[in-house]
Amino acid sequence: MISIRNVCKSFGRVQAVRDVSLEIHQGEFFSLLGASGSGKTTLLRMIAGFEPVTSGHIVIDGQRSEDMPPHLRPVNMVFQNYAIFPHLNVRDNIAYGLRRLGIARPRQAAMVDEMLDLIALPSYGDRRANQLSGGQMQRVALARALILKPKVLLLDEPLGALDKQLRDQMQLELRSLQQKLGITFVLVTHDQEEALTLSDRVAVMAEGRVVQVDTPAGLYDTPRNRLVAGFVGNMNFFDGTVRRTGAEALLDVEGLGRMPLNDPVGAFRDGDPAVVALRPEGFTLHPSPPAAAFGVVQGRLQARQYLGGRQLLHIAIEGRTASVTVLRQIARGAEAEQMAEGSPIWLTWPQDALVVLEKE
């Protein structure tokens, strides 16, 4: 649906977007995730047509679009501040884009009614922008864009201005709306939880580049580097060194010991540093020495943090200065067998819980 090919954008001497290539598919909920200044908003604005590309191509629905003015592109946008026209009421805001299409008045009114129903604000047609709450403005902005039946809907941090509770609700509504309409959504957000909850696929951006494009599960389970791993959820990082003897490769990891390294393409050479990542929930805890497992290490319980139905345990292990965080579900009635702080504890992990990050 959208094909971004080697797009670069410079503002004077600042390179905002550096050689980004992406394929966004028809009917997909796609997110651009990154911290502020990562180039995600600039990329979205280039898709909408508000910023010209410095170099590269943007193909929307099979059409070369990088030189097309915004009013001719088959995309519509929900702005971060919603940009509801203050001199028009809700109905006229929603109907704004219909003038150009030459649709008869009664048909327009029917379409607006349909949209007001869709956004669950049927009796709000005569209100002005300044009589709407943030969440209502957001819905009006959505309706105003969706009434034009765009091929792609662009959303620039649409939930950023809402409070937490409303944000959660709007997340659900956005997702179900997208599934109902089957329109391609491209969302820009700095909120990793939002990106993971809503999206079919996420592009993580940093310093103007796309670091990794993957499904939420893919990003979580096999982050490509420290940035993605740290950005999406909690992560334990371990420094290691590669030991290569012929075809066989081993990894010496601080605190965890020696383990086989799966490196079919031979990216690492003997003596290369490597970083191993393990999620807090990737470990299993044992109060006594466990039976055989892929990896096992003994530690000492340092501190615990309660997170409602779960506990985050901080465990010190030998050969590593930072503690390891381990997430544990608390079973009903399990308080009795709570481990005391300072007591010895064994950690085990399966092979697939462990991710060797790409060489940097």
């Binding site: 909408a48 047509g49 508000f50 003015p69 915004p70 009013h71 001719l72 995309v75 519509n76 946008m77 702005f79 971060q80 501040n81 940009a83 026209f85 203050p86 001199h87 704004y96 884009g97 003038r99 150009r100 299409l101 002005r128 922008a129 300044n130 943030g134 403005m137 105003r144 864009a145 034009l148």
Partner: protein, 272 residues
């Protein structure tokens, strides 16, 4: 009592000053309507009785009516032209990062401080050089130059208040630059446009020096007043005329300020 403290006394001093200030400013002006109702011919106390004779007298003066319609005509054309010219100028100043913007804005505002006499002579010389005959049209040209900085100054804050994303949203919804201007920009700056029209009309309507240099044989209203000052027995009628112009100008300027100010508060309420 708190009111009796140092601040209370200072406020009283300020109040006296304010009253004196307003009195000095407006007493001479208030004398004009006062004597316009005076039955006697001479401007002196005591008043000799109340009359509307001078106002009635205005109704019968053909040359006055002619001058009034001249001023009306010039004022309307000048108001529309200077406002229309000021819209793109104000937009450019507010929107684009022009090199040497400060210098350009200063240059545009220059007619505000150039003495009318010098300005009038300069325009007269220039128009003569081009072979133009002095007429109401040349008065109009002079007034447009004079009014342009006022129009720009009135419109500029409105343009600066436009949220860029509103125009982007319009483009995103399929409207090109022209329609975006009509459907988004114009409604947003409308109070500024109205205020500019009222203000520039009033300036042109009251202006004397440029009209004196550039009008040729056609007189505007202020020129008519000037020409009648020679006749002492007509002076009370001029006071009556001046009173009417005064009321009219006050209403126009007040309305223009109200419109400009009102739009601004309405926008602030609209902003989140």
């Amino acid at each position: 009592m708190a009111v009796g403290g140092a601040f209370g006394r200072m406020n009283r001093g300020l109040a006296i000053y304010a009253v004196a200030f307003v009195a000095v400013l407006y007493l001479p002006i208030l004398l004009i309507p006062l004597f316009s109702f005076n039955a006697g011919v001479y401007v002196k106390f005591p008043l000799e009785g109340v009359t509307l004779r001078w106002y009635a007298d205005l109704a019968g003066r053909e040359t006055l009516h002619h001058a009034f319609f001249n001023s009306l005509q010039v004022g309307l054309v000048v108001a529309i032209m200077s406002t229309v010219l000021a819209v793109p100028a104000a937009k450019a100043i507010a929107r684009y990062r022009l090199p040497g913007k400060r210098a350009i804005v200063g240059f545009i505002m220059l007619p505000l401080v150039v003495p009318g006499l010098i300005f009038g002579v300069a325009l007269l010389t220039l128009l003569n050089r081009f072979g133009a005959t002095m007429s109401l049209a040349t008065v109009g040209i002079g007034h447009v130059v004079l009014c342009l900085p006022f129009a720009i100054a009135t419109l500029l804050p409105r343009f600066e208040g436009i949220d860029r994303s509103m125009e982007e949203a319009s483009a995103d919804l399929g409207e090109n630059a022209w329609w975006t201007f009509w459907r988004i920009t114009v409604p947003t700056i409308l109070p500024g446009i109205l205020a500019s029209l009222l203000l520039t009309f009033t300036i042109s309507f009251d202006e004397f020096i440029l009209a004196f240099f550039l009008s040729g044989t056609e007189a505007t209203l202020p020129m008519y007043i000037w020409s009648q000052l020679r006749f002492p027995q007509d002076f009370p009628s001029l006071l009556a005329l001046a009173t009417l112009i005064l009321v009219f100008s006050f209403v126009m300027v007040f309305a223009s300020l109200r419109i400009a100010g009102f739009g601004r508060t309405a926008r602030r309420e609209g902003a989140i």
